[in-house]
């Protein structure tokens, strides 16, 4: 009899846990559906094509062209990856292929700190350090006047924010390369750098791509730090010294008045939906690749 209650308990626990797990998984779908329902009105009002590729943004008149914001996001994200990728790759190669344990003891905590700092802190740093630097020292060489609140500022701040993510992902995939492979190359007279370049990097190309895509999706959604340094001027940026207005900044900046205009709320929710769908696809793509790599190692 006692045994029976034990088994019932076990089954009951299983049921409850299964429910919670499934509900948590369903959260992905619920977010998608919720945002879609909210953005339906604006989708019915204007075509998807207009929303995505028109640059006319007049909420009062019901014209919602997201192109400037999309381009702002693209500029800032690409620039941040351009900054973060070489630094992260070189750092990760050094840490896995060269470094003595002592060096790691110093670098890992530094990366920990970068990873732990909240977005808003990076924003403050951007406003106090990067923005003045650009407006006072960098921009005068190229343009007459710049406030410093530019694509460049946002790209730098965002780049610094994704470095810890990239480095930790890279270290994970580089460490998974078997030592035998490195030694096979070294034994033929290759230098460490040649080995890193021709064997380690070559072996992990798919992992590097997947990690970069993951970092891109992280950069896409970053809000507060970007919002604080991007300038928030509506328009398609023509260069890195132009101000920009990425999608997350748009959503965060206008939530207050979004209930006051028809379709405005719906348009902003549509913006959130775009972000969600892109991030979802990027994440699915890179995670599935990374899982495969992990499995092939075992």
């Amino acid at each position: 009899m006692r045994n029976k209650t034990r088994i019932v308990k076990d089954k009951l626990a299983q049921g409850i846990m299964l429910t919670i797990t499934v509900l948590a998984i369903l959260l992905v779908a619920v977010i998608a559906v919720g945002l879609y329902l909210k953005s339906k009105p604006v989708l019915e009002e204007s075509s998807l094509w207009t929303l995505l590729f028109s640059s006319e943004w007049r909420p009062m008149k019901g014209a919602f062209g997201f192109l400037p914001f999309i381009m702002g996001t693209v500029w800032v994200t690409l620039l941040s990856i351009l900054i973060a990728l070489p630094i992260s790759l070189l750092t990760a190669i050094y840490l896995t292929e060269y470094a003595q344990p002592m060096v790691r003891k110093f670098v890992f905590p530094a990366l920990d700190i970068l990873a732990a700092l909240p977005s808003v802190i990076y924003g403050v740093w951007g406003v106090l350090v990067i923005v003045p630097f650009i407006s006072r020292h960098l921009a005068p060489h190229f343009v007459d006047f710049s406030t410093g609140y530019t694509v460049l500022a946002a790209g730098i701040v965002l780049g610094v924010m994704v470095i810890p993510l990239l480095v930790s992902l890279f270290i994970e995939i580089f460490s998974a390369v078997p030592t035998d492979l490195r030694e096979a190359s070294l034994a033929l007279g290759a230098t460490r750098w040649q080995t890193a370049k021709k064997v380690v990097l070559r072996k992990t190309v798919s992992g590097i791509i997947a990690s970069t895509v993951l970092a891109v999706s992280r950069a896409l959604g970053e809000t507060i730090a970007v919002l604080m340094v991007c300038g928030c001027v509506i328009g398609i940026p023509k260069g890195v010294l132009d101000a920009c207005y990425p999608i997350p900044a748009l959503i965060a900046n206008n939530y207050g008045e979004m209930l006051s205009m028809p379709f405005y709320e719906s348009a902003l929710m549509f913006a959130a939906l775009i972000l969600f769908v892109i991030v979802l696809l990027f994440n699915l793509f890179s995670r599935i690749i990374l899982y495969r790599l992990e499995k092939s190692e075992m």
Partner: protein
């Protein structure tokens, strides 16, 4: 030996580049920390921590940050507890009830990895629509719900990692004694306690620093909320809103808030690394 020399030079150049990359990383860390501390320490005072802002947060010259500190503590505390309650069963289920190559476990891990990647602004926007649906206004409750959603994937991913490396032998030893899976949980729980601790620290760090999601859902206020339906201030938003004020005293409050936030997050991070190091040492 021309070849050997060119190889040597390339090696040296590569090494130099790598040193530069690491120097840049250190430079960034130093610059951020130094900026926050040099600005923050100058304006830090006892009043900052113990007083509410007087006369409105955009213009008030008097007072401190107590509203934001308490608001953040409320939200983080509640959502951490909720997050733990929801995540622990999920992690156990994935690792002990499901088989290693189970399809459901694969889908679940993928889903949580994806949720982990969802930007907080999307959580905020989603939370906002849900609140409107239920007729809620910006409130402490809204903030707690959204932050809970935000940290669940962090909890699950981190704990899952700790549990996955859990030796199967111990599980099997417990099963072999006739224990059900439910009873085996107690054994596992004790073993992965350090993993749970690190996961909690990570989640708290993320929860306390996130601004984009609470902006929509918790709102901002000068006072301390007395019920779940009142809006609540948070530290990151205290930084964000007050930094752009034209009044120097208000900007100072932003710096102070940034300092407090940074110190909390650094402490959490250091403790986390400490626990991980100690944990992995015991394991080897």
């Amino acid at each position: 030996m021309n070849v050997a020399r060119s190889k040597k030079w390339k090696e040296i150049i590569a090494k130099l580049l790598m040193w530069m990359a690491m120097l840049i990383v250190f430079g960034f860390v130093f610059s951020v920390i130094w900026t926050i501390f040099s600005k923050g320490c100058r304006v830090m005072s006892w009043d900052m921590i113990t007083k509410l802002p007087g006369g409105g947060f955009y213009i008030g010259k008097e007072g401190g940050l107590l509203n934001a500190i308490v608001g953040s503590l409320y939200i983080v505390g509640a959502s951490t507890v909720l997050g733990l309650i929801i995540s622990i069963p999920v992690v156990f289920f994935m690792n002990i009830y499901l088989k290693k190559d189970s399809k459901l476990a694969y889908v679940a891990r993928l889903a949580f990895d994806v949720l982990f990647g969802v930007p907080s602004i999307v959580y905020g926007a989603f939370g906002f629509t849900v609140m409107i649906f239920f007729g809620l206004r910006t409130s402490l409750l809204g903030g707690i719900i959204v932050i809970t959603l935000l940290i669940i994937p962090i909890f699950i991913r981190t704990m899952d990692e700790a549990t996955r490396n859990f030796p199967r032998d111990i599980l099997e030893a417990s099963f072999a004694l006739g224990a059900t899976r439910w009873e085996t949980l107690k054994v596992v729980l004790r073993q992965i306690a350090p993993g749970i601790a690190t996961a909690t620290l990570l989640s708290i760090g993320r929860a306390i620093g996130d601004a984009a999601s609470v902006m929509f859902t918790a709102g901002y206020t000068d006072s301390i909320p007395t019920s779940l339906s009142q809006p609540a201030a948070t530290l990151p938003l205290a930084v964000f809103f007050q930094l752009s004020s034209p009044i120097a005293e208000v900007v100072d409050r932003a710096y102070a808030a940034a300092l407090i936030l940074t110190v909390i997050v650094l402490l959490l991070s250091i403790t986390g690394r400490f626990i991980t190091n100690k944990f992995s040492k015991n394991k080897v």
